[in-house]
């Protein structure tokens, strides 16, 4: 695969000896410039086309076949059979429901906790420097290490969480990640822990853009803290909240590594996120065509969510321009 780098030689020869002018040109690009731009972009475009766009198209095609992941695949076009089967697959829809519960809980908790932390970091307390650094830690850790770390914390025998509960006189023998009732909440906490820093940082940036005079004016008018939040802070933050929430929701819905390492979808499928379910169908059950149909369904969901997000962005843009 040395192909992607080869076209890089193109622009050097075609422009040799010609004085360079900036690529941008009033009213668009003339032909030579355009060819030159294409040559400069080609090395990036090639791997993307081969390893990202082509697989996407093939993936959609695969969803209409009975392909199996075997050495010498021999598959046939089966129309919408996979989708018909999928509609009746209660395990898939269970997993879809779990994915939704996971994504909604993590996104909402992330937002609420991050909003609180961002407010604290914006109110002139001591220890802010320390907290800011600490707040980046979850973000900085590789997902696999995060999962290993939390597995230790949730450990039923010598884990610090059970020890802490025991010290308070509470039940201290809970097997957090293996118990049917606690597994999903336990992985949700880890999801919140991982995603909170980024949301906090984004919201903090938003808070810092709100002019102090607005809060002062509200105080002068006798507004209490809650009133100031609803009347000043929240309206100014709303566009940022809308965009970070929709992005977080999509990311959380797409989540794989964290829960895969924590529970592999167990116990009894209680943490089987849809991405895990599809992965197992393709690479453990080897039904790659059927798994592709699941992938198509998940992609459609994400694209719909994305459309909602982009629409809200677009509306905000227009509102700003009008205002």
């Amino acid at each position: 695969m040395s192909a992607p780098t080869a076209p890089a030689a193109g622009p050097t020869t075609s422009t040799a000896g010609r004085p360079a002018r900036p690529l941008r040109h009033r009213g668009g690009l003339e032909r030579g410039r355009r060819r030159e731009a294409a040559a400069l972009v080609m090395p990036s475009l090639l791997p993307i086309l081969v390893l990202s766009v082509a697989p996407l198209v093939m993936g959609i095609a695969l969803a209409f076949t009975d392909a199996r992941l075997v050495r010498h695949p021999d598959y046939q076009f089966v129309g919408v059979d996979n989708f018909v089967r999928l509609a009746d697959n209660s395990f898939f829809w269970d997993s879809f429901r779990i994915g939704m519960i996971w994504a909604v809980s993590v996104t909402v908790l992330q937002l609420v906790l991050a909003l609180g932390l961002a407010q604290l970091l914006n109110s002139g307390l001591r220890l802010q420097g320390l907290t800011r650094v600490l707040a980046l830690i979850p973000w900085a850790m590789p997902p696999v290490v995060v999962a290993i770390m939390w597995k230790m914390i949730y450990s039923p025998n010598a884990g610090p969480l059970n020890a802490f509960l025991g010290a308070l006189g509470l039940p201290d023998d809970i097997n957090w990640l293996a118990d049917f009732s606690t597994a999903l909440p336990a992985v949700i906490v880890v999801g919140v822990w991982v995603g909170m820093p980024q949301t906090t940082v984004t919201l903090l940036a938003g808070l810092q853009q709100i002019p102090g005079e607005l809060h002062e004016a509200a105080s002068m008018d006798g507004a209490n803290a809650w009133r100031r939040f609803t009347a000043v802070t929240w309206p100014s933050l709303r566009p940022i909240v809308a965009s970070i929430t929709s992005l977080n929701f999509i990311w959380n819905f797409n989540s794989f590594s964290l829960v895969y390492v924590l529970t592999e979808g167990g116990p009894g499928g209680r943490t089987m996120l849809p991405m895990l379910f599809t992965y197992l169908e393709a690479f453990k059950n080897r039904n790659i065509g059927y798994a592709a149909a699941m992938g198509v369904v998940l992609v459609v969901v994400v694209v719909l969510l994305l459309a909602v997000y982009l629409r809200s962005q677009f509306r905000d843009d227009r509102a700003v321009k009008k205002g």
Binding site: A16, L40, V41, W251, G295
Partner: protein
């Protein structure tokens, strides 16, 4: 009432500090405890005696060093590839206006949220026909492709900061496009290139999903895969060395985030460092 606000704020802040900081603290603590202490029922954050041996054991452990070497090779190779192919494209992206730019930027955004699960299935088949599954070369190409969008986004942001007048001055002197890029644009891009290279390195070093799907033989495993293979065996794990190895694996990204701390605010930059 007012008097109580500050103390309440500090209590809340303390809660956040414990929630965010404790897990890493615990990992570090576990990495210096003996296995006897890790399995005992009295749990404390500070080890009764410092057991540095875990680090030696982690490093001596079957496969951990060679996986770290694999991770290093893949991360370095994909970083070099990303920078080489992203530089010219980022330049074009930054200097263009209109439909092509909108398409490029739109594609970058979409690629940050698109579920890879549908793509990985045919990608696996494509790479298999090229004999690139279970291969570090294949993994490098995949990491390169999937780091590229965000690398382009970062780099073009730096290109925008370079005034076009500088280029015009260069071309007045009769320099060719390539000379202008090489002598004027790329040197000014150095800080952006460093930041983008660090980002690419860390993305690849931490990456789990593609490595999990593509790599099959243990001698090709990258560090995250080997670490998870250690926790697979139920109960049989030596927690101390595992904690030590995990902590070592996290160091590159901790370094990256401490350097980039100030820049990690807002926008797409905040967006795409998601694991």
């Amino acid at each position: 009432m007012r008097v109580l606000v500050r103390p309440a704020q500090y209590v809340a802040l303390a809660g956040y500090i414990v929630f965010l900081g404790f897990p890493l603290l615990w990992l570090i603590s576990a990495s210096v405890k003996s296995s006897a202490e890790l399995n005992s029922l009295t749990v404390s954050l500070l080890p009764s005696q410092w057991h540095w041996d875990n680090y030696a054991q982690a490093l001596a452990r079957q496969g951990l060093m060679s996986s770290a070497a694999n991770s290093l090779v893949v991360a370095l190779a994909s970083t070099v590839l990303v920078i080489l192919i992203a530089m010219p494209a980022a330049y074009v992206l930054a200097r263009l206006k209109g439909a092509i730019r909108v398409a490029g930027v739109g594609w970058i955004l979409v690629s940050q949220v698109f579920p890879v699960i549908l793509i990985i299935l045919p990608l696996f088949l494509i790479l298999r026909t090229m004999n690139l599954t279970d291969s570090l070369v294949g993994l490098t190409l995949v990491h390169t492709t999937y780091t590229l969008p965000f690398a382009l986004w970062m780099l073009q942001g730096y290109v925008v900061g370079i005034p076009t007048e500088l280029e015009e001055a260069g071309s007045m002197d009769g320099a060719t496009r390539l000379t202008v890029l090489r002598r004027i644009v790329f040197p000014l891009l150095a800080p952006g290139i460093v930041a983008t290279a660090m980002f690419s390195f860390v993305s690849s070093w931490n990456e789990f999903f593609f490595a999990l799907v593509l790599l099959q033989s243990p001698e090709n495993y990258t560090l995250p895969i080997t670490l998870t293979s250690f926790i697979g065996g139920e109960g049989k794990v030596a927690l101390g060395p595992l904690a030590a190895g995990s902590f070592l694996a996290a160091i590159p990204s901790i370094v990256f985030f401490s350097i980039m701390q100030k820049k990690l605010t807002g926008g797409l930059m905040a967006g795409a460092v998601k694991g």
